[in-house]
């Protein structure tokens, strides 16, 4: 009679107190982007994220760019205090990690998928593509950036089977001149796409969301909000007006979920909870 409905605490299948792991490989992707391979697997799935800790400095969330059961990769931009310090780390250094957190992407095997990436988004999208082709999916992979020198993961993506790579740059230095969402629209017009997946700046995601609506295609998008705990307690990353937490009811959110979220594409909140328009 008196048994718990949820007998196992939800926190048992992840690491919540950071552990120090070695950086075993570093790839400099562009001037300000690096990929670290870490000596750990968290059995993370595409779309999930981890929190990286630099003792005495800070801790920040990063998407998993690959977890192959032995090692885990993150790809990050050096943009502020924390990521600049992280950027300065070398092979052999140890950094703290905990996770994995958040919902993962879920795709239908044997289907045709469109993946659209801006910024660091190419990394987690690559992880998704890698897993999806294993389940016999065909993939249209669209990568966008300011210019040719900022495009990420082109070689890795090109090496995937059953994957068609499309490129868009703002200045036209490579691929389509303009937004990557313009490329997505053409693909949605031309091919029968079962699901759309997106990771990148919010305004890009907002256009992707609108395209999904227009072409009546299911979409899953990676949301970003200021995060603290990563496991649903602090309430920092909640979105108006459903009150859903990006770390728990995201970071991957369906377009259906997002259609109820008023702040999507409009504003986010800083670490004191104050609204900041995009």
């Amino acid at each position: 009679m008196f048994e718990r409905k949820v007998p196992v605490p939800i926190m048992l299948n992840r690491i919540d107190v950071p552990i120090m792991v070695k950086i075993i490989d570093v790839i400099q992707e562009t001037d300000n982007v690096k990929t670290f391979t870490l000596d750990i697997s968290l059995n993370a799935k595409p779309g999930q994220f981890v929190n990286i800790w630099l003792p005495g400095i800070d801790e920040k969330p990063f998407s998993v760019a690959e977890d192959n059961g032995k090692t885990l990769k993150i790809t990050f931009f050096a943009i502020g205090e924390f990521t600049k310090k992280l950027f300065a780390c070398n092979v052999g250094d140890k950094i703290g990690i905990r996770g994995p957190y958040g919902r993962a992407y879920s795709w239908k095997p044997n289907s045709t998928l469109a993946l659209i990436a801006g910024g660091y988004g190419a990394a987690p999208m690559y992880f998704l593509a890698q897993k999806a082709v294993e389940t016999n999916c065909i993939i249209y992979f669209i990568v966008g950036a300011k210019s040719k020198n900022h495009l990420l993961y082109l070689n890795t993506i090109s090496s995937l089977p059953k994957t068609f790579l499309h490129i868009a740059t703002d200045d036209g230095s490579m691929g389509h001149k303009g937004y990557n969402t313009e490329v997505l629209e053409k693909i949605l017009q031309k091919h029968h796409i079962h699901q759309v997946f997106g990771c990148g700046p919010e305004m890009m995601l907002y256009s992707v969301f609108n395209l999904c609506k227009k072409y009546k295609t299911e979409g899953q998008l990676s949301m970003e909000r200021y995060m603290k705990c990563g496991f649903g307690v602090c309430g920092q990353c909640v979105m108006d007006n459903t009150g859903e937490r990006v770390c728990m009811e995201g970071a991957v959110m369906t377009t259906q979920q997002l259609s109820c979220i008023e702040e999507f594409g409009k504003y986010h909140r800083d670490k004191e909870g104050l609204k900041k328009p995009f």
Binding site: I10, D16, P55, G235
Partner: protein, 306 residues
């Protein structure tokens, strides 16, 4: 079906489970979401300051199977943001709202209480016991009988809404402090804030893991300590108690009530069982009461045999 409803300082709650302060309490929509999905009796806002206050860097909280530790540093955007959020909360007509306020001086406690009164929360909870901002403000006011009473008096003089004082467990004489608050006019007590502060270290880097180095301890490990002190206080005061600390299950909540709590504050539980855990708690409480043929949950408040 047993009747789970209770009345606390004149406010009616359909069940005794309330969300504790600082957990998912930053926005109105967050509170509404948890209240609805968790079928809660009531919710408490995160501590609200008069003016914006920055928190600590990350990591701000860490969890293990046995305990939880946090030093968020009570970040808040101040009363103007709170006004907007509380208005949204009121418009949605959700469960009773406990507005938790914090300040750094006795006068400011009066001002924030006055400001929050305009928004008509159902109860005002005065946080004088946060253990993780000691570096900034020194020992919490809740650690002194005289200061706790002074704050209570000032807050009471600024509002017509019932005032609940959030107590610190980190004192030698919790019963005396509780009595001092009661004598000063408090309408209820919230027992307790987090314990400590404590520390968690990383062997490898030889560093405390919380950015603030130390933080308040909550979760399952503190339950026995809270039960004992709640019972001591229950026997010494007449005002009702929100028993808070380490409650994860319906059984835990019933134990807290047997020790004398009228409402049960629950925060860290979310870490273990997420929002669904609240729903399960209420079901368990009801099942236990039915099994023991108790029609009304109020019958078990303070019903500890001795």
């Amino acid at each position: 079906m047993a009747d789970l409803s209770v009345t606390f300082a004149g406010v009616h709650f359909t069940n005794p489970i309330v969300l504790a302060s600082g957990i998912m309490g930053i926005t109105a929509n967050s509170l509404i979401h948890v209240a609805h999905k968790g079928k809660l009796g009531g919710v408490t806002t995160k501590s609200i300051w008069l003016t914006p206050h920055q928190g600590h860097k990350n990591p701000v909280m860490l969890g293990t199977e046995h305990y939880f530790i946090n030093a968020v540093g009570v970040p808040d955007a101040g009363i103007e943001k709170a006004k907007e959020e509380l208005r949204i909360y009121k418009e949605n007509k959700s469960v009773p709202l406990i507005a938790n306020v914090i300040a750094s001086s006795e006068t400011d406690y009066g001002m924030i209480t006055e400001a929050i009164t305009e928004l008509e929360p159902d109860l005002i909870e005065v946080n004088i016991s946060c253990p993780n901002i000691e570096d900034e403000f020194g020992k919490p006011l809740a650690c002194s009988r005289v200061k706790a009473a002074e704050v209570t008096k000032i807050c009471k003089s600024k509002t017509h809404i019932p005032v609940v004082i959030k107590m610190s467990p980190n004192v030698e004489n919790p019963v005396e402090i509780a009595q001092a608050c009661e004598d000063a006019g408090a309408d209820g007590l919230c027992c307790f804030n987090t314990f400590g502060p404590g520390m968690l270290i990383d062997l490898e880097s030889r560093m405390p893991i919380l950015a603030n180095k130390v933080g308040g301890v909550s979760g399952p490990g503190i339950k026995p300590l809270v039960l004992k002190m709640v019972n001591d206080i229950y026997k010494a005061v007449k005002i009702p108690i929100i028993g808070t600390g380490g409650v994860l299950t319906g059984k835990d909540a019933l134990e807290m009530m047997m020790c004398g709590a009228t409402l049960v504050g629950v925060g860290t539980m979310i870490y273990y069982y997420d929002i669904q855990g609240f729903v399960d708690m209420a079901i368990e409480m009801n099942d236990w009461l039915d099994e023991h043929n108790i029609k009304n949950i109020t019958e078990i408040i303070g019903a500890l045999n001795r």
